[in-house]
C-alpha cells in the first residue's frame, strides 16, 4: 500500500487515491518510425528489479499525472516529480544515487 506525494498539490496520497500508469519517459514513435522502434515504444518496457521510473495519476485528487522514481524490490520511493519532462531531472538522479550508489541511469 504505497504512499506517494503528488508534486502538484502537495498531498501525500494513498495508493487508492492514485492510478498507476506504467513506465515513464517513453518516447512516442508515430508514422514514419520503423517496426522495431514502434514495437519497442508500445511493448518493451523496463522491468527492472530495482530503480524504476513510472507514471502515476492523482486520480482521486487534483487529476494530474506525475512521475515517481521507485524501487520495485523494496518499494522505496526516491522522488516524485512533474510529468512535463522528457527524462528524470538531475536532482532525482542524484537522490537515487545517494541511496543506490551502484545504480546508474542507462
Amino acid at each position: 500500500m504505497l504512499i506517494l506525494e503528488c508534486p502538484y498539490c502537495g498531498v501525500t496520497a494513498d495508493e487508492t487515491e492514485l492510478a498507476a500508469g506504467g513506465e515513464a519517459h517513453l518516447k512516442r514513435f508515430g508514422p514514419g518510425s520503423s517496426d522495431e522502434e514502434f514495437e519497442g515504444y508500445l511493448f518493451h518496457r523496463q522491468n527492472p528489479k530495482g530503480v524504476h521510473f513510472e507514471r502515476w495519476r492523482h486520480a482521486n485528487g487534483c487529476g494530474k499525472w506525475f512521475h515517481a522514481a521507485r524501487c520495485t524490490a523494496s518499494l522505496e520511493v526516491f522522488a516524485t516529480y512533474t510529468a512535463q519532462i522528457a527524462e528524470p531531472p538531475a536532482e532525482v538522479i542524484a537522490a537515487i544515487r545517494a541511496k543506490r550508489p551502484d545504480w546508474s541511469p542507462e
Partner: protein, 187 residues
C-alpha cells in the same frame, strides 16, 4: 420551472446528521492561476479571496477553492451561476481560460454533529486529525468508492461535494457511518 437537486434535500437522523444541501452554483475555472487577470476576474466577480494551494475561502454561500494547479472551483447560489460564468468569461475574453457551469453535475452534503470528523474518517484515506486537517483546507480524495471533495465549514461541520450521479451512494455511506452506536471516539 422547478429545478431539482439530486436528492431533494434528503437528511438522516441521529446525533451526527447528514443532509443533502440542495442545488448550489458551481463553476469550474481553468487557466493560469498565476495570471493577474484571471485572479482579478475571479476574485472581483465573486468577492472572495484567492485561495492558496489546497485552500478554500468562504463567505456565506460563496466559496472559492483551489482544485489543481490550473483549476479553481467557485461556489455560489445556484441562480447566480450563469451570470457569474458570463461575467468571468467576459473578463477573460481572448485568454486561454475555460469557465464552465458545472452546478448540476454535482451534489453537496453537510455532515454535522459531534462525530462528523469520524464519519468522514471511516470513508476517506486521509489524515483528518484536527492537527492535520482544519478549516480553510479542501481535500480532494475518495469517499469509499467515489471521488469527493471535503472541507471543514464549522466546529462540528464538514461539507462534501461529489458527482450528482452517485449522490444516493454518498448519502447512504455517510448515513451508515453516522449511525448512532458506531462512534469511534478517536479524535
Amino acid at each position: 420551472m422547478s429545478k431539482a437537486s439530486a436528492l431533494m434535500g434528503a437528511r438522516s437522523d441521529g446525533a451526527t446528521m447528514v443532509e443533502e444541501m440542495g442545488l448550489r452554483g458551481m463553476i469550474t475555472v481553468k487557466g493560469d492561476l498565476s495570471d493577474i487577470d484571471l485572479k482579478n476576474a475571479v476574485t472581483g466577480t465573486s468577492g472572495l479571496d484567492f485561495p492558496a494551494q489546497r485552500q478554500i475561502s468562504t463567505v456565506e454561500e460563496r466559496a472559492l477553492a483551489w482544485m489543481a494547479p490550473d483549476e479553481l472551483l467557485l461556489l455560489c447560489p445556484h441562480d447566480e451561476a450563469d451570470q457569474m460564468v458570463a461575467t468571468i468569461s467576459r473578463h477573460l475574453a481572448g485568454q486561454f481560460a475555460t469557465v464552465i457551469n458545472v452546478s448540476d453535475a454535482r451534489a453537496m452534503f453537510r455532515v454535522s454533529g459531534p462525530d462528523a470528523r469520524e464519519v468522514l474518517a471511516k470513508l476517506a484515506p486521509v489524515d483528518l486529525h484536527p492537527d492535520s486537517f482544519g478549516p480553510g483546507e479542501m481535500r480532494r480524495t475518495r469517499l469509499a468508492q467515489v471521488a469527493a471533495a471535503i472541507w471543514q465549514s464549522d466546529d462540528d461541520e464538514f461539507l462534501v461535494v461529489c458527482f450528482r450521479s452517485v449522490a444516493q451512494y454518498v448519502f447512504d455511506i455517510l448515513s451508515l457511518s453516522a449511525q448512532d452506536g458506531s462512534d469511534v471516539g478517536y479524535f
